[in-house]
């Protein structure tokens, strides 16, 4: 009753290729059921799969079955073909069946990887339906042992090529896919013993064929497909061997013992190949991993010439498409890897032209990545070089179409010794890196760009910065919200045109940026990355309280491929250096303007003039500190490091762009570190000190305009002096400590500079403590 009911529904609603076997078995006529199912499937009936799942569920649940059988008339869905009624049914069923899990995923993924799902007889493998096994064995036991032997040999030969015999039946274990030979129980025991020894050949054959057919399909990757092709070659040879055996049999020259003798080499070869196939299967190998396994196989087969030849044949064939991809990558910088076999992965997600800056940030790190598990063992040592080669070529492809590719390209093929690839890869790498390096350094003038960045970010072009500050100081002293970026931009342009910066060919790259955080925040944010306090620096707290000066920084737009070097990360470093230097310059200018405002005091009578002596001395102290700090940062840190960097880039010892990147980032981190920008305590102390200077400067400007409050003046100056001294001492202390801890010679220089005449040491001694 249920069977026909089930069939009825199938008739109406069937779809998809999968028929759960236990479902079809329950039908009255399983083959009819399957045929109907296929028919429905080929006509594209909708919702077939979920329907089958429901049916499957019903079939396995006795309660529901009982419920169905109780009902007199067929359930309304029987004739209903539309989707809504099916949904209603599903709901209803779900309610009725209660906790039954409708989808049992353990049964769902049947071996779907059959090459010929519609034509099971097309396979070269055994057809292991239960039906065939049900068939009876021939009456072997009744014939004499000698005759038995030739019958068995004939059966075996059939079994060798995937066809079941009448006395020997292959049975496939559904879960493992392993084939066992079921022998006629009446077989002579001695023959049976021999047959059982020969049986593994059939198993190997089955395994190999199975995988050859699996991998023949789309989606298994080009390497596995190539391997499949090679496996078919092996099978073809094997067939020839079997044919030879058969002709021996026809000539009545083949005995079971002889057969056993003949198959010995074949058996070992097939065993090896089958083992390989199983390994590939268990590791889910494809692409480079398959090649690794094959390579391992080749290197293991030193003793067996025959096996070695087969293994080499396989690996050569399988590696062919792989080396095509590789060759294209290392000679043209392109990846055509539809099957995701290659170990370099192209992660292109965005169009370069839309987001040039972000793109170049990510490009170098993320655009191409290595799939570590896909690297063939024989290329493992040179994988990095291969990645870089293609990466360079890709950059060249993107920006210079006129590049002359080398005329002849050496064909790459599999070689047993990994070292043999090296000259070839090195040649390609040398070409790529040299071309790109030339492109960057000679064609696109990397050093010129760096020099231009130095003019603006490291304040190496002094007159420009003086000019710019003259123009912008008023604007920048306002709150950041009131600063008009467009105005700053035009002032910047003015400053450029009226200073020596005018001769800089890249001056148009510079722009003004107003950042929503100050230098200390920026630095702490960078330092806190990957630490517990990272969250503290997610959003700047006081963005609207900043003055233009605190928020100010230059920006620098560069074209691809220079933006590889001057990427956002390195520009952020430059910006931090700039902000520190810029602020120092600003404070120095404030103090200088105090100098100018107070220079008229020299015309005052002596008694009045001498009132100001302490303030002059304090101003001098501050100026001394600032100039020494600036001198230290520029002439002792930036300039020598800069010279060293340029010398390195120019030296000709640089082989590739990665080294340039490394040198450049080394330069930046050394500078940041030595400019005391990488220690929050040092930076905040320096900033505090500068803050005292700013306060003092504005105090003095007021005093210079109105000289009334002479009474409080002394006390005020004394207070400033005390504050300045205490902060300076703590700074000197920190620097001394840092210098001792890190053995940083350079940073000790600033101590000597600031305390050149021993003034502070003496002052400290008077306070009774030593630095």
């Amino acid at each position: 009753m249920e069977g026909s009911g089930v069939l009825g529904i199938v008739h109406d609603l069937a779809k998809d290729a999968k028929v759960p076997p236990d479902l079809s078995n329950q039908a009255e006529n399983p083959s009819d059921f399957v045929a109907k199912f296929k028919d429905a499937n080929s006509h594209g009936v909708s919702n077939l799969v979920p329907m089958m799942e429901i049916l499957h569920g019903i079939c396995r649940d006795d309660r529901t079955k009982a419920l169905f059988s109780k009902s007199k008339r067929p359930p309304p869905i029987m004739s209903a073909a539309n989707e809504s009624s099916y949904r209603a049914l599903k709901e209803k069923l779900l309610q009725q069946v209660g906790p039954l899990s409708v989808l049992d995923n353990q049964n769902a993924p049947q071996r779907s990887k059959r090459l010929f799902p519609d034509r099971p007889y097309m396979t070269l493998d055994y057809l292991c339906d239960d039906l065939m096994i049900k068939g009876n064995f021939g009456p072997l036991g009744k014939i004499p042992v000698v005759s038995q032997e030739s019958a068995i040999i004939e059966d075996l030969l059939y079994c060798f090529i995937g066809i079941e015999g009448s006395h020997i039946k292959p049975i496939k274990n559904a879960s493992t896919g392993q084939v066992d030979l079921k022998l006629d129980p009446s077989m002579d025991p001695s023959l049976r013993e021999l047959v059982q020894r020969i049986a593994p050949l059939c198993q190997h054959y089955s395994t190999i064929v199975q995988f050859a057919e699996d991998w023949f399909q789309q989606g298994s990757g080009r390497v596995n497909q190539a391997l499949s092709g090679a496996l078919y070659q092996v099978i073809k040879d094997y067939y020839i061997f079997v044919t030879q055996l058969e002709s021996q049999l026809r000539q009545h020259e083949l005995t079971l013992n002889k057969l056993w003798f003949y198959i010995q080499p074949t058996l070992s070869t097939m065993a090896m190949v089958a083992e390989l196939c199983r390994n590939c299967e268990t590791m889910g190998a494809r692409g480079g991993k398959t090649l690794s396994l094959l390579h391992q196989l080749v290197t293991c087969q030193t003793g067996n010439e025959n096996c070695k030849a087969v293994a080499e044949f396989l690996v050569k064939a399988a590696a062919k498409p792989y080396f095509e991809i590789l060759s294209r990558w290392i000679h043209r910088g392109m990846i055509s890897d539809s099957g995701k076999d290659f170990f370099v992965e192209d992660n292109e997600v965005i169009d370069r032209t839309i987001l040039p800056l972000e793109y170049s940030d990510d490009y170098w790190e993320r655009r191409y990545t290595l799939r570590m598990d896909q690297i063939p063992a024989f290329l493992h040592s040179s994988s990095d070089m291969i990645l870089r080669t293609g990466k360079y070529l890709n950059v060249i492809q993107q920006c210079d179409k006129s590049i002359r590719w080398p005329e002849s390209v050496d064909e790459v093929q599999y070689m047993a010794n990994p070292d043999q690839y090296t000259p070839l890869l090195e040649k390609a790498h040398a070409f790529a890196s040299k071309t790109l390096l030339d492109l960057l350094v000679k064609d696109r003038d990397l050093i010129g760009h760096l020099r231009s960045v130095k003019h603006y970010f490291l304040l190496d072009q002094g007159d420009f910065i003086v000019q710019f500050m003259d123009l912008c100081e008023k604007e920048l002293l306002q709150n950041v919200n009131k600063v008009e970026p467009a105005r700053l931009e035009s002032l910047l342009e003015l400053a450029q045109r009226t200073s020596a910066a005018n001769t800089d060919p890249y001056k148009d790259n510079v722009g003004v940026e107003l950042l929503p955080y100050d230098l200390i925040f920026q630095m702490c944010k960078i330092l806190s990355i990957d630490t517990d306090s990272e969250m503290d620096f997610k959003t700047p707290s006081n963005a609207s309280d900043l003055t233009g000066l605190e928020a100010f920084a230059f920006g620098y737009d560069v074209q691809w491929p220079i933006s590889l070097v001057l990427n956002r990360k390195s520009l952020a470093c430059y910006q931090m250096l700039l902000r520190q230097l810029f602020y120092c310059k600003h404070v120095e200018r404030l103090l200088s303007s105090v100098w100018i405002s107070t220079k008229v005091f020299k015309c005052y009578p002596t008694d009045q003039y001498s009132q100001y002596a302490a303030s002059f001395a304090l101003r001098q102290k501050m100026l001394n500190f600032l100039q020494n700090l600036e001198y230290y940062m520029t002439f002792e840190v930036l300039e020598p490091n800069w010279e060293a960097m340029i010398a390195k880039i120019r030296s000709g010892k640089i082989a590739n762009v990665d080294q340039v990147l490394e040198i450049h980032s080394d330069f930046l981190s050394t500078c940041l570190n030595d400019c005391m920008l990488s220690s929050p305590q040092l930076l905040t102390t320096v900033r505090k000190l500068l803050g005292v200077c700013v306060e003092f400067a504005s105090f003095m400007e007021v005093v210079a305009q109105s000289c009334d409050e002479l009474d409080t003046f002394h006390d005020e100056v004394a207070k400033f002096d005390l504050r300045f001294n205490s902060v300076l001492f703590s700074l000197l202390d920190r620097i001394a400590q840092m210098g001792r801890e890190n053995y940083n010679e350079r940073i000790m220089n600033i101590l000597h500079r600031l305390d050149f005449n021993g003034f502070y040491t003496q002052a400290l001694d008077q306070f009774g403590c030593t630095p």
Partner: protein, 477 residues
């Protein structure tokens, strides 16, 4: 606003262009947007660009050359500057120098694309030196309107008082020129005055001009290169050319020193005695000529301005250069030293090869061995300002060094001036020349006052060597 009054004109023009008509504003906007000049639409933008661009040049200096000595060293200075910037004697930029990254506009202004004119005013009361200059190959270099010769051409007769009073009389005419120059430069940083303190014009008229400059331009820097007279007394000094032949020199010096103390912001002392000694001892020139000495002076002058003309990280404006050198406004007399000192004729002098590293090393040595004494009342150090040098002038040495020092020992120079003055004054020698002038007709109070000022300067310099300098003034009063 701190710097508001420094460039009123730029601001004005900028505001003008901001408030200009819609058409101009659009043009202005497109100027901002199209930073690549090739894309610029040339029609409406051109005039605005020009008005904005030609007006400002930062840290401009105006050079005032006064009297015989001032004009001579000024002449040598401009010669040197022309050579360093690749400008021909006619003021035309040489072809090889068009690509330079130096800043010519600190001392020159650009008349047209390749024509540079010194921002210099030549003043003298007698025609000899200026005529020499105007007859030299450099005659086309100067702006003829900036050359001022007193009409009677009688000079000051080496008399400070005469120079001073003539300065008073010529005030209008002279300051017409100076004001015009100052107006022509939009971010004028200051004035440089070259003169000698011994003669008549440079010292007397120079003193007057210094006083007026301080009045009229209180926010501008006034720097002087003052040649101090040769004070070697013995007879051998008489044989050499540099020796002063002016008998009233002690008076002149003292009166000028007062103005240098009061009205100048920075005085670079060019000690003729020392220069002569360098010329004879180091360069082995037995009888140094004026022009040889002047060349030394011009070398010092040009080198002390290299950080302005070849900008680098630091000291790119005059104030940044001198502010750290001058701790209190009165102590503003700087000494110079230069290595290797050579004249054009003597480039073969044995010079040890020096590198920047050597300089640093020797500084470290000075610090460690305490080779130099420093003020005890504040931090002080030897600052090194590195600068490029002109690529157009070939020198035998890779590194040359100029020292600018504020050293208390300079007071010995003033003490000597005082001593010389006292000697003459006691005898009332040659005082008649001064009494003839209006200023001294009623008495010599001005001289006494000057003596007091210079004496206090000496005292202050000496006090600066002591730890209690900061309270010295108050102790005095």
């Amino acid at each position: 606003c701190l710097f508001g009054n420094t460039f009123p004109r730029i601001r004005e023009r900028f505001n003008e262009s901001q408030q200009s008509s819609g058409r101009e504003r659009r043009a202005r906007k497109s100027l901002c947007l199209n930073r690549n000049p090739k894309i610029l639409n040339p029609i409406p933008i051109e005039p605005i660009v020009l008005t904005v661009l030609t007006v400002i040049m930062p840290c401009e200096m105006i050079m005032l050359q006064l009297g015989q000595c001032g004009n001579q060293i000024g002449f040598e200075f401009w010669k040197k500057l022309c050579a360093e910037h690749g400008i021909s004697p006619e003021g035309i930029l040489e072809e090889h120098a068009t690509e330079g990254t130096d800043r010519k506009d600190v001392f020159f202004y650009q008349a047209d694309d390749e024509h540079y004119i010194p921002r210099s005013v030549l003043l003298d009361l007698e025609p000899r030196v200026i005529n020499n200059i105007m007859n030299s190959e450099y005659k086309k270099l100067y702006n003829p309107e900036n050359v001022y010769l007193a009409k009677d051409g009688g000079g000051a007769g080496n008399n400070w008082a005469s120079g001073y009073s003539q300065g008073q009389k010529l005030y209008e005419e002279v300051f017409d020129i100076i004001d015009r120059e100052a107006d022509g430069s939009d971010s004028l940083e200051g004035f440089v005055l070259t003169h000698s303190i011994a003669g008549g014009t440079g010292s007397g008229m120079g003193s007057y001009i210094l006083e007026r400059l301080a009045d009229r331009y209180p926010k501008k820097l006034v720097q002087t290169y003052s040649v101090f007279p040769n004070q070697e007394t013995s007879s051998d000094a008489l044989s050499s050319v540099g020796v002063s032949d002016v008998v009233v020199q002690p008076y002149n010096s003292l009166l000028t020193l007062k103005r240098l103390t009061r009205s100048a912001d920075c005085v670079v002392v060019l000690d003729n005695t020392a220069l002569n000694r360098i010329a004879t001892d180091r360069l082995h020139i037995s009888n140094p000529t004026f022009s040889q000495i002047n060349e030394l002076v011009s070398t010092i002058m040009s080198v002390s301005t290299t950080t302005l003309r070849y900008p680098s990280y630091m000291n790119n404006d005059l104030i940044g250069l001198i502010a750290p050198l001058i701790p209190t406004p009165n102590l503003h007399f700087l000494m110079t030293g230069y290595t290797p000192l050579t004249t054009a004729a003597d480039t073969q002098a044995a010079i040890r090869k020096t590198t920047v590293l050597d300089v640093h090393k020797s500084l470290q040595r000075i610090r460690e061995r305490k080779l130099a004494g420093f003020i005890p009342w504040g931090p002080a150090s030897i600052q090194v300002a590195l600068s490029r040098k002109s690529p157009y002038v070939k020198t035998a040495h890779r590194v040359s060094g100029l020292m600018l020092a504020n050293h208390t020992s300079i007071s010995s120079l003033f003490q000597r001036a005082l001593r010389d003055y006292d000697k003459l004054r006691k005898r009332e020698a040659f005082i008649e020349q001064f009494r003839k002038e209006e200023m001294f007709a009623d008495g010599l109070e001005e001289m006494d006052d000057s003596r007091e000022v210079v004496q206090r300067l000496v005292d202050e310099y000496q006090a600066a060597t002591k730890p209690d300098y900061l309270t010295w003034g108050m102790q005095q009063s």
